[in-house]
């Protein structure tokens, strides 16, 4: 159940969202979260690691493909 939820989240998050969330986490860690909030820090770190993975996955090597759309849809190249 938990795994499925995590998977859905990953799929719905695009690079932009993940990237922005990472920047927000950095900002919170640097400016908002006090040192003694161990749980919160761990939570943010865990989320950060997850988002980093999403970003890296989205940037992994790929070959650009062209899909023809409109009246005559078909795959090309």
């Amino acid at each position: 159940m938990k795994t499925k939820k995590a998977k859905d989240q990953t799929e719905s998050e695009n690079f932009e969202t993940a990237f922005r969330k990472l920047e927000e986490i950095l900002n919170r860690l640097e400016n908002e979260i006090p040192d003694y909030s161990i749980d919160k820090i761990l939570e943010e770190y865990e989320e950060g690691v997850r988002l980093l993975k999403i970003c890296r996955d989205k940037l992994k090597d790929a070959e650009l493909r062209i899909a023809k759309i409109g009246a005559e849809e078909e795959d090309r190249k």
Binding site: N14, F15, E16, F19, L22, E23, I25, L26, L29, E30, I33, D35, Y36, I38, I41, L42, Y45, E46, G48, V49, L52, C55, R56, K58, L59, K60, D61, A62, E63, L64, R65, I66, A67, K68, I69, G70, A71, E72, R76
Partner: protein, 452 residues
Amino acid sequence: MQSITVSELTGRIKSVLEADFQFVQVTGEISNFKHHSSGHFYFALKDENAQINALMWSSLNKALSFKPADGMKVIVKGRVTVYAKRGSYQIDILDMRVAGVGDIFLAFEQLKEKLRKEGLFDKSHKKPLPQFPERVVIITSETGAALQDFYRIASRRYPVISLMLINSKMQGAEAAMELISALETANDRKYSADVIVLARGGGSAEDLWVFNDESLARAIFRSNIPVVSAIGHEVDFTIADFVADVRAPTPSAAAEMILPDISELRRDVDEIDDSLTADINSKLSRLRKAIDSIEMSYHFRKPAERMKDLQLLLKTIDEGMRSALTSRISLLKIRLDNIENSYHFKKPADTLVNAAKRLDEIKIKLLQRVSAGLKDCSKSLDSSASLLSSYNPENVLKRGFAIVSKNGNVVQRNAMLEKGDSVGIRFYDGSSNAIINEKLKDIENKESKRPD
């Protein structure tokens, strides 16, 4: 001289003028131009010294590729007509074109001005490009160089996009219609495109003319998705360029403008990763320092029991943090470590150890008891055995007693015997028979010996 009526004179003038000037071609400047609500054009054509009224019926002026305006120099073709009611004459225009500059250029300028006034080029309507596009639609000819140029740059910069192609004619009579329909397709929600590129390589002014089409301009303006125009070369500007959200000088430049550089982004992500680690590290080292100073403080030293707990807890946190930072692979594992190491989870383990110890003790006691019980048993068995053996008739016989039997039954009492009974006497070492020759007196109430 006979006078004639005004109508007669006007009629004669009309027939003379209209006969003589059935077809004229006149060059002049438009002045006092009126586009009547009926659709007809009314204006004056003039030069430095003269002017003549002119009109062009709406049925004819609709075909014009430009809109006349005051000051415009035009060449008109038409005929002279007389309007009897006013006593005026004018040119009834059949066709008109711009003198001097080309019609096409003028039409371009006029459409540009019209659309600008309508606000189609306003900055406030320009949609920003997505920072990290994911789904890009390129509208171009699938055989054109524009597609190849765009593809080359895109696959170098950001090959992770989903690139969708809508093939369209990019010049000629049908191009505008095809482009408008392509823009509508690209806006279809099912493709969830986040940017549209209109791409065409360079060409002559006529080749690029379709991009000055008013309907196309409006279709670009209608698009809900940002449109990037990448038409011709740097020097070519079309109406489409003005109305597009972003104008790129060439298809290659469009790819550069739209797409981020993947290698830069990878570096950015690495930097974020480093910052995250550094942030956590500094936070935790500050925390450790703070904890150390608390540890050293007098108040925490006094209640020894609490101190012990705290130390254990701190140690656990410290260890947990250390492993969290060194191992990024699996935070879950780290948490598990934490749980395993944590004070509260150790407690049940201690209890278990104690329980096991107690069990061992109970086991030993039990064993001791059982073996003691067994010893008692064997002792009593021994005494029973010796008692049993003392009851053995053989042993009794050995001591000098004998067993008297009559008819196979043991004679236990004198009363059982009569004079003349034949009896057997069994001794320890053998038997003999005897006859009772005299019976003496029984002793009354004497209890019989209990048989064992």
